[in-house]
Protein backbone atom coordinates (compact mmCIF):
# COMPACT_ATOMS: atom_id res chain seq x y z
CA UNK A 1 0.00 0.00 0.00
CA UNK A 2 1.44 3.33 -1.11
CA UNK A 3 -0.14 6.66 -0.25
CA UNK A 4 0.66 10.26 -1.10
CA UNK A 5 -1.03 13.59 -0.52
CA UNK A 6 -1.46 15.67 -3.64
CA UNK A 7 -2.66 19.23 -4.11
CA UNK A 8 -4.69 20.36 -7.10
CA UNK A 9 -2.69 23.12 -8.72
CA UNK A 10 -4.63 23.93 -11.87
CA UNK A 11 -7.15 26.74 -11.53
CA UNK A 12 -10.11 24.92 -13.03
CA UNK A 13 -9.89 21.91 -10.73
CA UNK A 14 -10.61 18.40 -11.93
CA UNK A 15 -13.10 18.67 -14.75
CA UNK A 16 -13.69 16.29 -17.63
CA UNK A 17 -10.37 16.62 -19.44
CA UNK A 18 -8.08 16.11 -16.42
CA UNK A 19 -10.32 13.28 -15.28
CA UNK A 20 -9.89 11.56 -18.63
CA UNK A 21 -6.10 11.97 -18.33
CA UNK A 22 -6.12 10.45 -14.84
CA UNK A 23 -8.21 7.48 -15.93
CA UNK A 24 -5.97 6.93 -18.92
CA UNK A 25 -2.87 6.94 -16.73
CA UNK A 26 -4.37 4.83 -13.95
CA UNK A 27 -5.62 2.31 -16.51
CA UNK A 28 -2.06 1.44 -17.42
CA UNK A 29 -1.34 -0.08 -14.00
CA UNK A 30 -2.52 -3.35 -12.52
CA UNK A 31 -2.73 -2.00 -8.95
CA UNK A 32 -5.97 -0.77 -7.47
CA UNK A 33 -5.70 3.00 -7.33
CA UNK A 34 -7.97 5.20 -5.21
CA UNK A 35 -8.45 8.83 -4.37
CA UNK A 36 -9.45 9.78 -0.83
CA UNK A 37 -11.06 13.11 -0.10
CA UNK A 38 -12.63 13.67 3.31
CA UNK A 39 -14.52 10.45 3.91
CA UNK A 40 -14.97 9.56 0.24
CA UNK A 41 -12.96 6.96 -1.57
CA UNK A 42 -13.29 6.49 -5.31
CA UNK A 43 -11.43 4.48 -7.91
CA UNK A 44 -8.96 6.36 -10.09
CA UNK A 45 -10.14 4.23 -12.99
CA UNK A 46 -13.70 5.61 -12.92
CA UNK A 47 -14.12 8.82 -14.87
CA UNK A 48 -17.51 9.82 -13.47
CA UNK A 49 -16.30 9.05 -9.93
CA UNK A 50 -13.34 11.37 -10.27
CA UNK A 51 -15.41 14.22 -11.67
CA UNK A 52 -18.10 13.95 -9.00
CA UNK A 53 -15.41 14.06 -6.33
CA UNK A 54 -15.54 17.81 -6.87
CA UNK A 55 -11.85 18.44 -6.44
CA UNK A 56 -11.36 22.19 -6.87
CA UNK A 57 -8.30 24.42 -6.93
CA UNK A 58 -5.96 23.96 -3.95
CA UNK A 59 -7.91 21.08 -2.44
CA UNK A 60 -5.89 18.14 -1.17
CA UNK A 61 -6.47 14.53 -2.16
CA UNK A 62 -4.78 11.38 -1.01
CA UNK A 63 -3.86 8.96 -3.77
CA UNK A 64 -3.65 5.36 -2.61
CA UNK A 65 -2.43 2.39 -4.64
CA UNK A 66 -2.35 -1.23 -3.73
CA UNK A 67 -0.88 -3.93 -5.94
CA UNK A 68 2.24 -5.13 -7.74
CA UNK A 69 3.12 -1.75 -9.32
CA UNK A 70 1.77 0.58 -6.65
CA UNK A 71 4.91 2.77 -6.40
CA UNK A 72 4.98 3.52 -10.13
CA UNK A 73 1.23 4.06 -10.21
CA UNK A 74 1.31 6.68 -7.45
CA UNK A 75 4.32 8.38 -9.08
CA UNK A 76 2.56 8.54 -12.42
CA UNK A 77 -0.71 9.90 -11.05
CA UNK A 78 1.05 12.40 -8.79
CA UNK A 79 3.17 13.70 -11.65
CA UNK A 80 -0.02 14.44 -13.59
CA UNK A 81 -1.18 16.67 -10.76
CA UNK A 82 2.32 18.21 -10.59
CA UNK A 83 2.15 19.14 -14.27
CA UNK A 84 -1.30 20.73 -13.68
CA UNK A 85 -2.69 18.45 -16.40
CA UNK A 86 -0.90 20.64 -18.90
CA UNK A 87 -3.20 23.53 -18.01
CA UNK A 88 -2.34 26.88 -16.48
Amino acid sequence: MTERDITIKNRAGIHARPAALIVQTAGRYDSDIYFRKDSEEISAKSIMGIITLGAGYNSVLKVVADGPDEEEAVDAVASLFESRFEEE
Partner: protein, 335 residues
Protein backbone atom coordinates in the same frame (compact mmCIF):
# COMPACT_ATOMS: atom_id res chain seq x y z
CA UNK B 1 -20.98 4.02 -62.72
CA UNK B 2 -20.45 2.71 -66.22
CA UNK B 3 -20.87 4.68 -69.42
CA UNK B 4 -23.64 7.27 -69.33
CA UNK B 5 -25.24 7.20 -72.76
CA UNK B 6 -27.87 9.39 -74.42
CA UNK B 7 -30.30 6.52 -73.86
CA UNK B 8 -29.59 6.73 -70.11
CA UNK B 9 -30.40 10.43 -70.27
CA UNK B 10 -33.77 9.64 -71.88
CA UNK B 11 -34.35 6.93 -69.26
CA UNK B 12 -33.71 9.16 -66.22
CA UNK B 13 -36.72 8.92 -63.95
CA UNK B 14 -37.32 12.56 -63.05
CA UNK B 15 -40.57 14.06 -61.88
CA UNK B 16 -42.38 17.38 -61.80
CA UNK B 17 -39.95 20.29 -61.95
CA UNK B 18 -37.07 17.94 -62.62
CA UNK B 19 -38.68 16.28 -65.65
CA UNK B 20 -36.81 16.79 -68.92
CA UNK B 21 -39.72 15.78 -71.23
CA UNK B 22 -37.32 14.35 -73.76
CA UNK B 23 -38.11 12.39 -76.86
CA UNK B 24 -35.95 11.15 -79.65
CA UNK B 25 -36.96 12.44 -83.09
CA UNK B 26 -34.03 11.21 -85.13
CA UNK B 27 -30.66 9.47 -85.30
CA UNK B 28 -31.91 6.61 -83.15
CA UNK B 29 -28.93 4.26 -83.74
CA UNK B 30 -26.74 6.89 -82.09
CA UNK B 31 -28.53 6.67 -78.73
CA UNK B 32 -25.64 4.54 -77.49
CA UNK B 33 -23.31 7.54 -77.77
CA UNK B 34 -21.69 8.38 -74.46
CA UNK B 35 -22.18 11.67 -72.64
CA UNK B 36 -18.75 12.38 -71.20
CA UNK B 37 -19.18 15.85 -69.71
CA UNK B 38 -22.09 17.23 -67.67
CA UNK B 39 -22.27 20.34 -69.79
CA UNK B 40 -24.22 22.05 -72.57
CA UNK B 41 -23.25 24.16 -75.54
CA UNK B 42 -25.24 26.56 -77.69
CA UNK B 43 -23.65 26.22 -81.11
CA UNK B 44 -24.32 29.75 -82.41
CA UNK B 45 -20.72 30.49 -83.40
CA UNK B 46 -20.20 27.00 -84.81
CA UNK B 47 -23.20 27.37 -87.12
CA UNK B 48 -21.54 30.51 -88.42
CA UNK B 49 -18.49 28.47 -89.31
CA UNK B 50 -16.34 29.43 -86.33
CA UNK B 51 -15.14 26.16 -84.76
CA UNK B 52 -12.27 27.41 -82.61
CA UNK B 53 -12.73 26.22 -78.99
CA UNK B 54 -15.98 24.58 -80.04
CA UNK B 55 -17.39 22.46 -77.19
CA UNK B 56 -18.05 19.51 -79.46
CA UNK B 57 -18.07 16.94 -76.65
CA UNK B 58 -21.10 18.61 -75.05
CA UNK B 59 -24.81 18.27 -75.68
CA UNK B 60 -25.72 20.86 -78.34
CA UNK B 61 -28.79 22.92 -77.56
CA UNK B 62 -30.84 24.45 -80.38
CA UNK B 63 -33.19 27.10 -79.07
CA UNK B 64 -35.30 29.57 -81.01
CA UNK B 65 -32.30 31.58 -82.21
CA UNK B 66 -30.31 28.60 -83.46
CA UNK B 67 -33.34 27.07 -85.15
CA UNK B 68 -34.14 30.35 -86.90
CA UNK B 69 -30.54 30.47 -88.08
CA UNK B 70 -30.81 26.88 -89.38
CA UNK B 71 -33.89 27.88 -91.35
CA UNK B 72 -32.02 30.86 -92.81
CA UNK B 73 -29.01 28.68 -93.75
CA UNK B 74 -31.25 26.16 -95.44
CA UNK B 75 -33.30 28.74 -97.33
CA UNK B 76 -30.02 30.13 -98.66
CA UNK B 77 -28.92 26.57 -99.55
CA UNK B 78 -25.85 27.05 -97.39
CA UNK B 79 -25.64 23.67 -95.60
CA UNK B 80 -21.94 22.99 -95.95
CA UNK B 81 -21.36 24.23 -92.40
CA UNK B 82 -23.76 21.56 -91.09
CA UNK B 83 -21.55 18.83 -92.59
CA UNK B 84 -18.61 20.30 -90.70
CA UNK B 85 -20.71 20.60 -87.54
CA UNK B 86 -21.57 16.91 -87.58
CA UNK B 87 -17.93 15.91 -88.13
CA UNK B 88 -17.51 16.46 -84.39
CA UNK B 89 -18.21 13.57 -82.02
CA UNK B 90 -21.33 15.25 -80.60
CA UNK B 91 -23.23 13.18 -78.01
CA UNK B 92 -26.58 14.52 -79.22
CA UNK B 93 -28.33 17.62 -80.52
CA UNK B 94 -31.39 18.88 -78.73
CA UNK B 95 -34.24 21.16 -79.79
CA UNK B 96 -36.08 23.10 -77.09
CA UNK B 97 -39.54 24.74 -77.29
CA UNK B 98 -40.72 21.66 -79.22
CA UNK B 99 -38.91 23.01 -82.30
CA UNK B 100 -38.21 20.82 -85.32
CA UNK B 101 -34.90 20.53 -87.16
CA UNK B 102 -34.76 21.48 -90.84
CA UNK B 103 -34.92 18.62 -93.39
CA UNK B 104 -31.27 18.87 -94.40
CA UNK B 105 -30.19 18.96 -90.76
CA UNK B 106 -32.25 15.83 -90.04
CA UNK B 107 -30.82 14.08 -93.09
CA UNK B 108 -27.21 14.67 -92.05
CA UNK B 109 -27.92 13.75 -88.42
CA UNK B 110 -29.50 10.50 -89.60
CA UNK B 111 -26.54 9.83 -91.88
CA UNK B 112 -23.90 10.28 -89.14
CA UNK B 113 -26.21 8.62 -86.58
CA UNK B 114 -26.23 11.55 -84.19
CA UNK B 115 -29.32 11.42 -81.97
CA UNK B 116 -31.74 14.35 -82.30
CA UNK B 117 -33.77 14.99 -79.15
CA UNK B 118 -36.65 17.34 -78.53
CA UNK B 119 -38.19 18.85 -75.43
CA UNK B 120 -41.17 21.16 -74.96
CA UNK B 121 -39.36 23.13 -72.25
CA UNK B 122 -37.79 26.53 -72.82
CA UNK B 123 -34.02 26.60 -73.31
CA UNK B 124 -33.22 28.20 -69.97
CA UNK B 125 -35.58 25.93 -68.03
CA UNK B 126 -34.23 22.87 -69.79
CA UNK B 127 -30.62 23.95 -69.21
CA UNK B 128 -31.04 24.32 -65.46
CA UNK B 129 -32.90 21.01 -65.19
CA UNK B 130 -30.47 19.00 -67.28
CA UNK B 131 -27.45 20.49 -65.52
CA UNK B 132 -29.00 19.54 -62.19
CA UNK B 133 -29.69 16.00 -63.38
CA UNK B 134 -26.25 15.57 -64.95
CA UNK B 135 -24.65 17.07 -61.84
CA UNK B 136 -26.05 14.20 -59.83
CA UNK B 137 -25.06 11.62 -62.42
CA UNK B 138 -21.51 12.94 -62.68
CA UNK B 139 -21.13 13.63 -58.95
CA UNK B 140 -17.96 12.38 -57.25
CA UNK B 141 -18.63 8.92 -55.93
CA UNK B 142 -16.94 6.02 -54.21
CA UNK B 143 -17.93 2.60 -53.00
CA UNK B 144 -17.02 1.68 -49.45
CA UNK B 145 -17.10 -1.62 -47.62
CA UNK B 146 -19.57 -1.20 -44.79
CA UNK B 147 -23.21 -1.19 -43.81
CA UNK B 148 -25.56 1.79 -43.97
CA UNK B 149 -28.48 1.82 -41.55
CA UNK B 150 -30.96 4.57 -40.80
CA UNK B 151 -31.18 4.86 -37.02
CA UNK B 152 -33.70 7.30 -35.55
CA UNK B 153 -33.60 9.20 -38.83
CA UNK B 154 -29.81 9.49 -38.87
CA UNK B 155 -27.93 7.73 -41.67
CA UNK B 156 -25.23 5.70 -39.91
CA UNK B 157 -22.40 4.20 -41.93
CA UNK B 158 -20.91 1.27 -40.01
CA UNK B 159 -17.32 0.54 -41.00
CA UNK B 160 -14.79 -1.99 -39.77
CA UNK B 161 -12.70 -4.96 -40.80
CA UNK B 162 -14.60 -7.96 -42.02
CA UNK B 163 -15.65 -10.28 -39.22
CA UNK B 164 -15.82 -7.51 -36.63
CA UNK B 165 -19.62 -7.71 -36.59
CA UNK B 166 -20.93 -4.95 -38.86
CA UNK B 167 -23.69 -7.05 -40.36
CA UNK B 168 -24.69 -8.51 -36.99
CA UNK B 169 -24.93 -5.03 -35.48
CA UNK B 170 -27.00 -3.86 -38.46
CA UNK B 171 -29.23 -6.92 -38.20
CA UNK B 172 -30.01 -6.21 -34.59
CA UNK B 173 -30.68 -2.56 -35.41
CA UNK B 174 -33.15 -3.66 -38.10
CA UNK B 175 -34.72 -6.04 -35.61
CA UNK B 176 -35.13 -3.12 -33.22
CA UNK B 177 -37.12 -1.19 -35.82
CA UNK B 178 -34.44 0.71 -37.76
CA UNK B 179 -33.88 0.54 -41.51
CA UNK B 180 -31.30 -1.12 -43.66
CA UNK B 181 -30.11 0.94 -46.63
CA UNK B 182 -27.21 -1.14 -47.92
CA UNK B 183 -25.04 -4.00 -46.77
CA UNK B 184 -21.45 -4.71 -47.70
CA UNK B 185 -20.98 -2.37 -50.66
CA UNK B 186 -22.25 1.15 -50.11
CA UNK B 187 -22.06 3.57 -53.01
CA UNK B 188 -21.66 7.15 -51.80
CA UNK B 189 -22.14 10.19 -54.03
CA UNK B 190 -21.45 13.78 -53.15
CA UNK B 191 -24.36 15.93 -54.32
CA UNK B 192 -25.11 19.63 -53.92
CA UNK B 193 -21.59 20.26 -52.70
CA UNK B 194 -21.71 18.74 -49.24
CA UNK B 195 -24.41 16.07 -49.07
CA UNK B 196 -23.28 12.46 -49.10
CA UNK B 197 -26.06 10.39 -50.56
CA UNK B 198 -25.61 6.65 -50.29
CA UNK B 199 -27.30 3.58 -51.65
CA UNK B 200 -26.51 -0.06 -52.27
CA UNK B 201 -23.87 -0.46 -54.96
CA UNK B 202 -26.15 -2.88 -56.77
CA UNK B 203 -29.76 -1.85 -56.44
CA UNK B 204 -30.98 -4.68 -58.64
CA UNK B 205 -30.01 -7.16 -55.93
CA UNK B 206 -32.26 -5.57 -53.33
CA UNK B 207 -31.81 -5.62 -49.59
CA UNK B 208 -29.93 -8.75 -48.73
CA UNK B 209 -27.43 -9.40 -46.01
CA UNK B 210 -24.82 -12.00 -45.39
CA UNK B 211 -24.68 -13.16 -41.80
CA UNK B 212 -22.13 -15.74 -40.66
CA UNK B 213 -23.93 -18.92 -39.80
CA UNK B 214 -27.14 -17.95 -41.59
CA UNK B 215 -25.91 -17.27 -45.08
CA UNK B 216 -27.71 -14.79 -47.30
CA UNK B 217 -31.01 -13.46 -45.96
CA UNK B 218 -33.59 -11.20 -47.56
CA UNK B 219 -34.31 -8.32 -45.21
CA UNK B 220 -37.41 -7.11 -47.07
CA UNK B 221 -39.06 -10.50 -46.85
CA UNK B 222 -38.03 -11.16 -43.27
CA UNK B 223 -38.75 -7.76 -41.71
CA UNK B 224 -41.08 -6.07 -44.21
CA UNK B 225 -40.78 -2.92 -46.30
CA UNK B 226 -40.69 -0.81 -43.16
CA UNK B 227 -37.24 -2.22 -42.46
CA UNK B 228 -35.59 -0.99 -45.64
CA UNK B 229 -34.79 2.22 -47.41
CA UNK B 230 -33.27 2.85 -50.84
CA UNK B 231 -31.13 5.92 -50.30
CA UNK B 232 -30.05 7.87 -47.27
CA UNK B 233 -27.65 10.66 -46.47
CA UNK B 234 -24.56 9.59 -44.52
CA UNK B 235 -24.68 11.65 -41.31
CA UNK B 236 -22.58 9.61 -38.90
CA UNK B 237 -19.72 7.18 -39.36
CA UNK B 238 -19.23 4.48 -36.72
CA UNK B 239 -16.07 2.46 -37.02
CA UNK B 240 -16.07 -0.85 -35.16
CA UNK B 241 -12.74 -2.33 -34.19
CA UNK B 242 -11.57 -5.09 -31.92
CA UNK B 243 -10.80 -3.83 -28.42
CA UNK B 244 -7.14 -2.94 -28.17
CA UNK B 245 -6.12 -2.58 -24.52
CA UNK B 246 -3.08 -0.52 -25.56
CA UNK B 247 -5.22 2.02 -27.34
CA UNK B 248 -6.83 5.07 -25.75
CA UNK B 249 -10.52 5.43 -26.54
CA UNK B 250 -12.54 8.60 -26.22
CA UNK B 251 -14.01 8.73 -22.73
CA UNK B 252 -15.47 12.23 -22.81
CA UNK B 253 -16.56 12.97 -26.36
CA UNK B 254 -16.04 16.71 -26.04
CA UNK B 255 -13.85 16.86 -29.14
CA UNK B 256 -15.70 16.70 -32.42
CA UNK B 257 -14.04 13.97 -34.47
CA UNK B 258 -14.80 13.71 -38.15
CA UNK B 259 -14.01 11.43 -41.04
CA UNK B 260 -13.60 12.78 -44.53
CA UNK B 261 -15.54 11.07 -47.30
CA UNK B 262 -15.28 12.57 -50.81
CA UNK B 263 -14.02 15.77 -49.19
CA UNK B 264 -17.02 16.11 -46.87
CA UNK B 265 -16.47 15.91 -43.10
CA UNK B 266 -18.85 13.55 -41.28
CA UNK B 267 -19.08 13.09 -37.48
CA UNK B 268 -17.06 10.01 -36.59
CA UNK B 269 -17.15 7.58 -33.68
CA UNK B 270 -14.67 4.82 -33.02
CA UNK B 271 -16.31 2.04 -31.05
CA UNK B 272 -14.24 -0.78 -29.60
CA UNK B 273 -15.87 -4.19 -29.77
CA UNK B 274 -15.48 -6.95 -27.22
CA UNK B 275 -17.66 -9.84 -26.13
CA UNK B 276 -20.53 -8.67 -23.99
CA UNK B 277 -20.59 -5.15 -25.44
CA UNK B 278 -23.92 -4.40 -26.97
CA UNK B 279 -22.92 -2.55 -30.11
CA UNK B 280 -26.43 -1.85 -31.49
CA UNK B 281 -27.37 0.02 -28.33
CA UNK B 282 -24.18 2.04 -28.54
CA UNK B 283 -24.95 2.91 -32.17
CA UNK B 284 -28.55 3.83 -31.28
CA UNK B 285 -27.39 6.09 -28.47
CA UNK B 286 -24.69 7.58 -30.68
CA UNK B 287 -27.33 8.51 -33.27
CA UNK B 288 -29.61 10.06 -30.69
CA UNK B 289 -26.67 12.01 -29.29
CA UNK B 290 -25.91 13.18 -32.83
CA UNK B 291 -29.49 14.43 -33.12
CA UNK B 292 -29.13 16.25 -29.82
CA UNK B 293 -25.97 17.92 -31.14
CA UNK B 294 -27.82 19.02 -34.28
CA UNK B 295 -30.44 20.58 -32.02
CA UNK B 296 -27.66 22.47 -30.25
CA UNK B 297 -27.28 20.38 -27.11
CA UNK B 298 -23.81 18.97 -26.73
CA UNK B 299 -23.95 16.47 -23.83
CA UNK B 300 -20.22 16.21 -23.16
CA UNK B 301 -19.60 19.96 -23.32
CA UNK B 302 -22.66 20.93 -21.29
CA UNK B 303 -21.63 18.38 -18.68
CA UNK B 304 -18.15 19.81 -18.43
CA UNK B 305 -19.56 23.34 -18.20
CA UNK B 306 -21.69 22.23 -15.25
CA UNK B 307 -18.69 20.59 -13.60
CA UNK B 308 -16.56 23.72 -14.03
CA UNK B 309 -19.33 25.91 -12.62
CA UNK B 310 -19.83 23.59 -9.70
CA UNK B 311 -16.09 23.42 -8.91
CA UNK B 312 -15.96 27.21 -9.04
CA UNK B 313 -18.82 27.50 -6.57
CA UNK B 314 -17.31 24.93 -4.23
CA UNK B 315 -14.02 26.84 -4.39
CA UNK B 316 -15.69 30.09 -3.45
CA UNK B 317 -17.58 28.44 -0.61
CA UNK B 318 -14.54 26.73 0.87
CA UNK B 319 -12.55 29.97 0.68
CA UNK B 320 -15.40 31.69 2.54
CA UNK B 321 -15.53 29.06 5.24
CA UNK B 322 -11.77 29.06 5.60
CA UNK B 323 -11.79 32.80 6.28
CA UNK B 324 -14.57 32.37 8.85
CA UNK B 325 -12.85 29.44 10.57
CA UNK B 326 -9.49 31.13 10.86
CA UNK B 327 -10.15 34.37 12.69
CA UNK B 328 -7.28 36.70 13.58
CA UNK B 329 -4.67 35.33 15.96
CA UNK B 330 -5.95 37.37 18.94
CA UNK B 331 -8.52 34.66 19.52
CA UNK B 332 -5.83 32.04 19.43
CA UNK B 333 -7.94 29.74 17.26
CA UNK B 334 -7.54 28.35 13.78
CA UNK B 335 -5.36 25.63 12.39
Amino acid sequence: MGKFTVLDLLDLDLKEHNALNLKCIGGRPGLTREIRVPDLNRPGLALNGFFENFGGERIQIFGRGETAFLNKLESEGNTEVLERFFEWEIPCVLFTHGLEPTPEFSRIAEEVQCPVLQTDLTSSDFSSRVLRALGNVFAAHETVHGVLVEVFGIGVLILGDSGVGKSEAALELVERGHRLVADDAVEIRCVSGNILLAQGANRALGHHMEVRGLGIINITHLFGVGAIRDTKQVQLVVELELWDSEKVYDRIGADERTKEILGVKVPYLQVPVKPGRNIPIIIETGSMNERLKKMGYYSAREFNQSVLKWLERENARSAYFRSRNTPPDVFGGGD
